[in-house]
Amino acid sequence: MGMDRITQSTMSATALRGLQTSLGRVQELQQQLSSGKRVNVPSDDPAATAAAMTFRSQRAADEQYLVNADAAAARLNVTDNALTQLSDRLRGARDLMIQSQNGAIGSNSLGALSQQVLAVRQDVVDLYNTRYLDRPIFAGTAQGSVTVDSSGTYVGDDGDVVIRISGDATVRTDVKGTAVGADTVPALLTQIAADVAAGNSAGVNAGLDSLDAALSNVQQSLGDVGARQARVDSVRSLVDSARLDLTSKISDTEDVDLPETIMNLQAQQVAYQSALGAAAKITQVSLADFLK
């Protein structure tokens, strides 16, 4: 706009406007620096807000997946230990049975061996009743606090226990009681103990076959649990690196670039100071100063 006439009031209005604008920029930068955030409200940068909110939500989910993965890993560890011990115990029973097959053994010794088999049976029942976080690990989703009750009956339901360990992966953390012989092995061992005590060689032989089959099932489950543990580990490390990546992305979208913002602030301060200087100089003089 062509301005044919300049007055003191337009000049001071212009100077004031310039100061306001400059000071406004200084304030904006100072706010960014003191909050550390470039995006304080959505209108600061709507696109960055959308990204930051999505990233935050994903990071929160990932944090939970890590917790879940840890819980899954812990439960699988407990299961792994229980299965390893179970397999040891069953081998122990097998040794006892082989000893009992020795023709030179006396009936007293057979009685002792039978007692030992019964002791193994008790250990095995205790192992089937192993608990994690107060829940029997081989009972599936059944209610109650045991897998095998005091009478040796399997009370589990083989239900799946599934935990989500990433946005698109879940893992089963249960081992079905029937897959590791919780429904058959206690009774089998009771039968074997009776056969051993009675010196029933044919019965013991048949028992050996059944025990071998159970042992092989336990080994198979151990392998399965090991594979699942490995899977949880690998998914966990993927999720963890995704989480770290999201954290740095959130920082990139929301946080101020410190060196750049400080430089900008310096520049704005210089601009503000020069505007102040100019305003002070311009408004100082008037014709009144030169009239006598």
């Binding site: 706009m1 300049i6 007055t7 003191q8 337009t10 209005a13 989910a61 209610q143 239900g159 008037s286």
Partner: protein
């Protein structure tokens, strides 16, 4: 022609110079008075009588100088431009203020917003899924559910309060408008009377122009010049002030945010709605009628979709005691959402009666994934995504309003400069005028002295021959 007439001529010069100095003084002292327009003395030389009379003879007689008019320098077109620009700026500022507060309520993006609470809520379901018999995990689920509901209520109530605030503002705008219209009509009366009587009305006219600006900033009125220096003000064809009579406006429509859509607030002249397009009222009406109710509806949408998604999954579950699940969230919107179960044992987290698992808790936790939530809602938009859209949509709106306000500010500044450049007082100019008219005064005085000396010569020194 006589020496005495020259004295008269000089005296008119003295008077004119004094009057001009007077005006320069008035301009200088009002240099910073808001709305003041500089005044100018229009001088005119007055000649002698042009018709021949007995005494005039053939020599010219000069009548000296007269002050024809004290004019007020203000360009009506520049003033109208400034007024319209100011009205538009007020509208933008009012709307921006209302929406900025709404935006702050959302507290996004950050760790304290609703998004974070919903994430926490879904996380606690996941935790419960991995330890279904842990009653403290169950309590955390209930507490986090209550936290989400509480936050939604806080935002919903905050939006209501924001609406009430804007409504109180518009009530005040309407009463200020009516007052200003009445004041303007009164001033019109004084100006017309002064103009007819030939009294100076410049200062009153300045005041009147300020009132026109105020009316424009309130409801976007524009001025039309009338007879005897009066103006009429209309708001998009509805007459507010006509001469010395003023109309008053009333506000109708809903009194709270829940009735804002069914019965939108409207400014009425009698029973005719006033089409308000600028001024504070326009911005406030936009916020009251659409912007704030839209945000509120968005928040309610988040609340109901969260309720539906959670409840749909929850209803398929059973408590560890074997009872079927009913509802987790009750309520109809953001302000009345509540958690139904009160203790961990009431939570329906198992996939079947008589089962001890957290499959349903896990499925509710999985609602954090938008695709799962959308599937549960039968293709509906999931709560997290609704919330993001709401926050980002509001952000875009506030950003564009702020940009428009910045642009409008420079338009107003340019219009202001133009008005000031025309009507503002330049101290340098007035100083120069002081010098000029001081010299005029001195010169006119010199004329009197000269004539005096001439007469002295004539009266006292002539006719002394032979004395």
């Amino acid at each position: 022609m006589s020496g005495f007439s020259t004295l008269n001529t000089a005296v008119t010069g003295l008077a004119a110079a004094q009057r001009a100095l007077d005006i320069a003084g008035q301009n200088i002292v009002n240099a910073n008075t808001p709305g003041y327009s500089r005044q100018r003395v229009l001088l005119a030389s007055s000649g002698g009588a042009t018709t021949a009379t007995f005494h005039s003879g053939n020599s010219a007689v000069f009548g000296g100088v007269t002050v024809e008019q004290i004019s007020r320098v203000r360009d009506a077109f520049l003033e109208a431009t400034r007024t319209a620009a100011g009205a538009k700026q007020s509208a933008l500022q009012a709307q921006t203020a209302a929406l900025t507060s709404a935006q702050t309520l959302l507290a996004e993006p950050g760790d304290t917003g609703l998004q974070a609470s919903m994430d926490d809520f879904f996380k606690s379901w996941q935790n419960l899924a991995s330890s279904p018999t842990n009653s403290s995990s169950g309590s955390v689920v209930i507490q986090n559910g209550a936290k989400v509901a509480g936050q939604l209520k806080y935002i919903g109530d905050g939006l209501s309060a924001e609406w009430d605030n804007a409504h109180a503002n518009i009530v005040s705008v309407v009463s200020q408008t009516n007052q200003a219209a009445q004041d303007l009509a009164d001033l019109n009366g004084q100006i017309a009377a002064g103009t007819v009587a030939g009294r100076p009305v410049n200062e009153l006219t300045d005041k009147r122009d300020l009132l026109v600006r105020k009316l424009a900033e309130l409801v976007g009125g524009s001025a039309i010049p009338g007879p005897d220096n009066t103006v009429s003000v209309t708001v998009n064809g509805i007459s507010m002030v006509s001469g010395t009579s003023a109309q008053s406006f009333t506000l109708s429509g809903g009194n709270d945010i829940s009735t804002a859509v069914s019965s939108p607030p409207t400014i009425l002249w009698g029973s005719t709605p006033v089409p308000i397009e600028s001024g504070q009222a326009a911005g406030l009406l936009a916020a009251l009628r659409t912007d704030l109710p839209n945000v509120r509806a968005g928040v309610d949408g988040v609340a109901t979709s969260l309720r539906d998604a959670v409840n749909l999954v929850y209803a398929t579950g059973f408590t560890l005691g074997g009872d079927p699940g009913a509802t987790f969230f009750a309520g109809t919107g953001s302000t009345d959402l509540s958690v139904v179960p009160t203790s961990a044992s009431e939570l329906a987290i198992a996939s079947g009666a008589g089962k001890t698992d957290g499959a349903i808790a896990g499925a509710i936790g999985d609602l954090a994934i938008d695709a799962n939530a959308s599937l549960v809602l039968g293709g509906g938009q999931p709560p997290s995504s609704r919330w993001r859209d709401l926050a980002v949509g509001l952000g875009v709106q506030v950003q564009s309003l702020k940009n428009a306000t910045t642009v409008q500010e420079s338009v107003v500044a340019a219009a202001d400069d133009a008005v000031q450049s025309n009507a503002g007082v330049s101290l340098d100019e007035e100083m120069t005028n002081l010098l000029l008219f001081q010299r005029s005064f001195q010169a006119a005085s010199r004329v009197i002295t000269t004539v005096d000396e001439m007469l002295d010569t004539l009266v006292n020194r002539t006719g002394t021959v032979g004395r």
